[in-house]
Amino acid sequence: MGWFPNILKGIIYMGVYITTTMVVPFLTFTWVKEIQVLGVAIVLEQFQYDRIIFWITAFGLLISASAFFNYSSPKQSIRKASFALIQILLNCLYIWSYKFSGATEVKFEIVFEVTNVGFIAIDVQNMVMLYMGVYFLTILLKGYDLIDFILNRDKIRQKRYKITEEGVDAS
């Protein structure tokens, strides 16, 4: 694959990651920030909302940038494996940021007229921990990739150049 399709692939995946790690969570938390049930306002506390959005944006930007470098790198290259590993580590921090920003235990105040009459809290910490388990396995896989690409560098290069030469010959 030439440089232009690789760059295009990187841009497309960067767009996908911007949408999934920043735009969708931002719209979701903005939507649930102030909803009404039977005329009773259920309000997500402002400082909690700001903290969640800050961490989502910070890690979302880093993940999107590393996704660009990951997907624009040639297949089975050390560069690709390195950026894939960085991206998965950032993904772990992103998931973890949901926990330390308070997003895993979102508390909605129930306000009737102007009086606070209680709260509804949803805690998804166990689910985040389970996802962290999946990410841990993915880190092992990406580490394995990196070692594999370093050890078999010559074989991969020979195969890549052979395909390119055959491609040139064919054309």
Binding site: I120, A121, N126, V134
Partner: protein, 187 residues
Amino acid sequence: MRPSRIFRWVVRIFLLVFTLALSGVSLLGGFSAVTILDPDSYNVNIPDGPIIANLDINNKPTMSISVPFNITNVGVYDLDEITLSFQIGVIFGNASTPTNETTNNRIFDKTVNYGTVPHGQVLKDTFSGLGSDGFIFLNIPELAEVDLTRTPDLIFHANFTFSAMYSLQLYKFTVNLINYSLAEINI
């Protein structure tokens, strides 16, 4: 294909299946939890009927409260670790202080775990407390301590907390209501 690539694909497929299953459980659980908590469906009714209370501070051992409730699990998973917590506070003018300060004492505090309600089942029960089972005698004011010139003399208010785990214990939700007016008594 190199053998190392084949091993990688096996692990990758396992991870994909695992992640998809986890995401499926999360989505189904979230959707299902919303159907249980939907206020229009009345699946969680606390209280489900009148609260019967004896709040006579002159006879502490006979003080009692009973709160009927019912919880219907219309979701696809079991509702686990259902816990109901109930606190009662009393506000009064404290005659034992120089300025008859307004005092707020917690006189009742009890938490009961009702275990699991399987999907499609209903839990109908009464939360109750009698005497030392829930009431904190030390915090209940003596009649001599109450400033009887105020109206009302004693204001009782309650806090409810309902919590449960859902979707294979991946979600925990808590509903808390504070300062629910229970009674106003003139002695």
